[in-house]
Symmetry: C2
Subunit: 295 residues, 2 copies
């Protein structure tokens, strides 16, 4: 096991424990929605976004307890987006991470509400004094997460993605779509670490460039897995993009050039971290991991 | 036209103008989701929640521009909840305020995303420095809105409401459901005004009691309209609760006792405002209006 794998595993465990604490089950009659929130967020996922929050925060000496609260809030937003994305009216997926999707396990109404509640809870967590004693930082975390997750970010990207089946997107258009749909949350992950650490403008910019590059690399790797991956190994249906007639980096560039591009982006991402010297090693390793992962 | 009617009209106009400014249309390809956000939030509704924010804030001398930003953020949350509540998987309603519901006007996927984006935008607005120069107040606004809108508040109440068709709720259970489903946002409306105005504990408590009483009165009045109202006048389908076999205050208490109870609550609400003397007059009038409105 490499240092990165150990660190990712530790982050996944601690994110899970943090989420578990933030989403306590109750014995009230509305507990079904909490059960669905827990089902949608606990026990699975690579937790790359919390890892980015925590590792970036660590560059500036932020306490792990706080960083994990912020990382878990961000993960709630990621998980809510998957729940809504999987709904019959959206991508209509039955399986996610090798398990039934939330609306399959519960029902559509509960899945819609659980997604809504996860998104709401994310802001509750960020705005609470336990996340940071400095209210300016809490407000800034809320502001940047909302910008990244909303109509100018993730949700806007999902809207573009829905329309993509009917249009032939070119590379700049797909790049814009992916920067919004998946890139925005990855970028804000790094930014949240920088905000909590009161990073200098220079450091915050470096992390922003890093995030931009790994975000795109991550998406190209995802497209490659959709084409080449095995559904059982990947944990969700593959071949979706081709079936939907969606243009992707892979369909436009071809497998080989897409893979090259992903590696190029990962290398470039690592270079942006030079200013942090050896403190940035795990983040550099993550860039490499993102383009070589098998699921 | 009474003072209250004039004030409500002015509030509705200014809320509309504020929302219009906060949700500018773009010519980007994802504009469809912004169109749906605007469709779901502009031009209709009594704007009772923004009115409560603004009037409560006014008790403490808060600037109207700021109060309207906060009130409009809260209204976005209310509007998102209506969009998701109307979806086929939830209440499956085709009409709202005399117009096709958002998923009928657009499509289900766009309605889900527009709801998500409205909820997200609410926190973006509250967390932005334009809403208040004091970051503690911005963070507190985000925190209290999230608590009111999430699984312990509005969304939890919606979960209870979905389950209500299958169970015979009694008065305490219905009271709890309604306190969560509609009461929580009404209570946080008043609280947001108090937060912005740095109200004393005593004033904040008085507004909290007022909000509690009008929230319940509002719901009983809604139940009465569902039984007695005309669909055309009310602007949405009536007789829904009876069709769904749902217990309501009216089905449990009967029309006459429900009406008495609503008026009792409105009077009680007004009494909590005595400490504000004549400055609380419009809020007192609102309590009366809530139980006498025809839609």
């Amino acid at each position: 096991m490499s240092d990165l794998q150990r660190a990712l595993k530790a982050c996944a465990d601690r994110t899970d424990a943090t989420l578990d604490g933030l989403l306590p089950l109750t014995d009230t009659p509305e507990a079904r929605v909490i059960e669905a929130m827990r089902y949608a967020s606990l026990g699975a996922g690579k937790r790359i976004r919390p890892f980015l929050v925590v590792e970036c925060a660590k560059l500036f000496g932020v306490s792990e307890t706080r960083a994990y609260r912020a990382g878990s809030a961000l993960e709630m937003v990621h998980c809510y987006s998957l729940v809504h994305d999987d709904l019959p009216a959206m991508d209509d997926d039955d399986m996610r991470r090798g398990q039934p999707t939330t609306h399959k396990k519960f029902d559509e109404a509960t899945a819609i509400l659980a997604g809504d509640a996860l998104l709401t809870k994310a802001f509750e967590v960020l705005a609470a004094p336990e996340t940071h004693e400095n209210a300016s930082i809490r407000a800034e975390l809320c502001l940047q997460l909302a910008r990244a997750a909303g109509d100018k970010g993730m949700v806007g990207g999902q809207m573009l993605d829905l329309a993509a089946a009917d249009t032939d997107l070119d590379i700049p258009e797909i790049t814009r779509l992916q920067r919004m749909k998946t890139g925005a949350l990855i970028a804000v992950a790094c930014d949240m670490g920088a905000i909590m650490g009161k990073a200098s403008h220079h450091s915050r910019q470096a992390l922003n460039h890093y995030a931009h590059d790994i975000g795109l690399a991550f998406q190209i790797a995802d497209d490659l897995l959709d084409v080449e991956g095995d559904a059982e190994e990947v944990g969700k249906r593959t071949g979706k993009d081709e079936d939907a007639g969606k243009a992707t980096f892979v369909s436009l560039l071809g497998v080989e050039r897409a893979r090259e591009q992903a590696h190029l982006l990962a290398d470039q991402a690592a270079e942006h971290l030079e200013i942090f010297a050896e403190k940035g090693q795990l983040l550099k390793d993550l860039a490499e991991f993102i383009v070589t992962r098998r699921k």
